[in-house]
Symmetry: C3
Subunit: 139 residues, 3 copies
């Protein structure tokens, strides 16, 4: 059993930008030479989140629409009174989606379905450089 840390550097456009991390995670998993275990995918910072989705253009639009509906950009946020940076909605969206997802791997392969990709969503209102942490625990 061991712990292996890897990173994926991502350039995002912000504005609920949806980035497919799947290929990057698979590539890094190969380099660990681990066969069985879990990988915790984690993004530092409080305006981005992680989940899975069938990565196709329709659903990317639908996701953006969904987040705009339940935590609209132009609503009034008390966070504005503290920082005046216009990204109150980004924080709320990131908090309920969550910054972390743990995925099993078996026989050296991620257990994601064929039409299931692991995505980073950057909710911030500007372009960002994000360093995604992959914490592999396995044997």
């Amino acid at each position: 059993m061991s712990v292996v840390t890897r990173y994926i550097e991502v350039h995002t456009k912000g504005g609920t930008d949806v980035i497919d991390l799947t290929r990057g995670i698979k590539t890094e998993l190969k380099t660990t030479r681990l066969n069985q275990g879990t990988v915790t995918v984690f993004v530092s910072g409080s305006t981005a989140g992680l989940t899975t989705v069938e990565y196709e253009p329709g659903l990317i639009k639908d996701l953006k629409h969904f987040f705009e509906k339940i935590a609209p950009e132009n609503e009034r946020y008390a966070h504005e009174e503290t920082w005046h940076d216009g990204n109150g909605h980004s924080h709320i969206r990131a908090s309920f989606l969550g910054p972390s997802i743990t995925l099993p791997f078996i026989n050296g392969e991620l257990t994601l379905g064929t039409w299931q990709q692991c995505i980073l969503i950057d909710f911030d209102n500007r372009a960002r450089e994000r360093r995604v942490i992959l914490q592999f625990v396995g044997e």
Copy 2:
């Protein structure tokens, strides 16, 4: 320390069907003979999700009502234009709930509360066979 993989096969009815996995997870935990660690419960596919709830009929109704309210079945989804399979809402609900939950176990027992069950919610619009992965990491 070791990694032990187990599976739970579930038949669902779709339509935000809520399935209690707790007994299955407890049974599999016993077979691992592990005492301390975590189990990552994961569902492959992009139209189902995992969480915990007090599993009683009222809350099951309330959960269905909640998901219908925030991501309605009959809203227009761009996913439809790609696949025409009528399950855009299923994907959105699954993405924000998430396909993975990690639960600690201590002295061979899950740490769930007495009125807290681990559930699979199948958001797809048809019956499905789901294979839930249990990735135990522990000693």
Copy 3:
């Protein structure tokens, strides 16, 4: 590799009370003497949840407002017909947020961002004593 269990005892006021656990988790991480791994933070019970946020008063207000908007306290919940304890909204909010979050640590330090705190949200409608479980897996 080993598993180390720690606890944080928290007194909450209920009513979507937001509690910063970050310092407690960091303190417990030091006592484990682990350098690399993950910590699964978990709350037993079905009316509380975990996530991360920039812990500042504006966002705490915004989070409370968000949860009240998507799962209002005074809506009618079928859970009421079972238990009559007035906390149907607490259960729905908790299920939606989730009771568990897994965070990586590297070189003995949590990988949370500077403005990213790990929080417990107690959605119950009364004060509660909560025992948060920290399950460290690492080396």
